[in-house]
Symmetry: C2
């Protein structure tokens, strides 16, 4: 590798000052057009690489945006990330991604690293148990935060997520409308805002229909296919013999359907199953999954836009921005069989 090419290398080779080179490369109108062209050509020839660390040390903006979620391998977050990526690419920001796996420590380390790198902002789906100080750490050091998919007490940042309580009530009402009365709720936890909201939406829908809520029909568990798959055994051995299941999300629903099928029953006929999120995969599951569209792409797009706007100086209103979920009826639900 040859000598390192920097602004002064270009400057000397052209008999100009580094100030002029710097301005020209950033398309400043202060530099005469032909000088600018000559400079750019020379930079290309010499294989110049812009040193962002030096620039950012001077300007104190890095162009880096951090994104931290529970698990990027979960397609729910994947769909949010894809939308964020699209939006940030457009504005030439670099994004740094991390999983926190609901470890508050891992999340805090990420925020610290981001601060050390001079991150301009952070989009997070806060880990369970995140203390308000960890969010304040970012904000107090000039790195605004935006939340996606999860809320948190005691912080005052913009939040983008679906209306979980309403969404799950859509699914529950759909099953009630098909004649089901014994409806289980599978997967998830009550430790997140999302979890509490979804359970509440399910409870409210049942009550409104005059159906007594049976806590024995709640089977919490991991929010994964594996979780749904393993819940199938418990579900099928419930003494209440539920005829339908409202699942925490599509992954749990697909896992549950696999488990039900293994037991020789036909999901969508013997047992009705609803998902949540409307992942790309929901429509090609067999049977295709009745689920609730949860607007992941919208959440990601809006959150990224909000952050960029904030960085550009506009004063976005804080508080919760709820995306309205919509029902997607497919083959995994059907009328109750007598």
């Amino acid at each position: 590798m040859a000598q390192k090419v920097k602004l002064s290398t270009i400057a000397e080779s052209l008999g100009l000052s580094t100030a002029t080179i710097s301005l020209a490369l950033r398309d400043s109108p202060l530099v005469a057009v032909d000088t600018r062209e000559k400079i750019k050509e020379q930079a290309r020839l010499l294989g110049y690489i812009y040193n962002r660390r030096a620039a950012s040390l001077r300007t104190s903006r890095s162009g880096i945006i951090g994104v931290v979620v529970h698990d990027i391998m979960n397609p729910f977050y994947g769909e949010i990330l894809k939308a964020i990526e699209t939006e940030l690419d457009r504005s030439r920001h670099t994004f740094i991604l991390s999983n926190h796996y609901d470890s508050v420590d891992k999340q805090r380390m990420f925020v610290e690293t981001l601060l050390q790198l001079g991150g301009d902002g952070v989009i997070m789906s806060p880990a369970i148990g995140t203390p308000a100080e960890d969010v304040a750490l970012a904000e107090n050091n000039g790195m605004p935060a935006i939340f996606v998919a999860r809320s948190m007490e005691g912080v005052d940042v913009p939040i983008y997520r679906g209306d979980d309580s309403y969404g799950i009530s859509l699914a529950t009402n759909h099953l009630i409308g098909l004649g089901h009365r014994s409806i289980a709720m599978i997967g998830g936890t009550d430790q997140t805002s999302t979890g509490r909201d979804r359970y509440q939406g399910y409870v409210n829908a049942l009550r409104k229909a005059g159906i007594e809520v049976d806590p024995g029909l709640r089977i919490p568990g991991p929010r994964t296919k594996q979780g749904g798959f393993e819940a199938a055994v418990n579900f099928l051995s419930l003494p209440q013999k539920p005829t339908a299941a409202v699942c925490w999300n599509d992954l749990v629903a697909i896992g549950l359907m696999n488990g039900i099928a293994r037991a020789g029953l036909i999901p969508g006929q013997d047992i009705s199953v609803t998902g949540y999120d409307d992942l790309e995969e929901a429509s090609i599951a067999t049977p295709s999954l009745t689920t609730v569209w949860n607007g992941q792409a919208e959440v990601g797009r809006l959150a990224a836009r909000a952050l960029l706007d904030k960085l550009a100086g506009s004063h976005e209103p804080d508080g919760i921005h709820l995306i309205k979920p919509e029902m997607r009826i497919r083959q995994s639900t059907g009328p109750i069989r007598r």
Copy 2:
């Protein structure tokens, strides 16, 4: 937000020099133990945030490692990334992730950004059509590259991936052993080294068994569930009436099984299907998927280790490091029905 706390802030507050502070915070034995403790305590009190850009400008090492693959939402890459993450976390490196979606331009922009940030190294699964210059760009600027999952002509970097030709022959032989003679190959492309190797392994296995290779039984397509699902229609309408399908990967296989089931046939009984990769999901698919373990976690772990070793100065041998695949027999394959 208060005044920015920097080394000199701490230095002044304690009546010491920035040199001493800098050394103390990095645990240099040059600083007396009690001085060191006092300094660390003060740094904590003042809420000091280490400025990595400044440090890295000085030392020309950033602690940043880039990772770029086709699509992080694909669980195959997800499993590789998870292993890389585990390995890099341990050594306190920050990793920056990107998809290239097989766009050479997007990949090059990523490499350039990484160079601008002073990236120490890059792990890549090169986009289809990557020119050797794009890899040289990284290497010539002091940023070593390691490949995962895909090879490329004309570059001399360490490569970690599965032995595709051998792996697919395992799957093909398994089907032949069950009595299948008309075996289709579904999904994938011939534009990657992986694609060519897998097709060749399939062809070789057939030939070795004395089965004529019928190009009409090759149905290329996207390497996704959706791709497999959509291929089912073509597969089922082939005039050759194949009784088995070797799929490019687990995603294609699961999609194909869904499509077959939609058509009223039972995968694993009417049609035998093999996957490739042994994703976590393979074992809970219904029927559970017979597939080939492809060592994603190994690939990620070894590639990350190799890069860290290289950065630490050791001279890893370049060239291909092949992981030996293994057969995983489950329920999606069975003896041919007459």
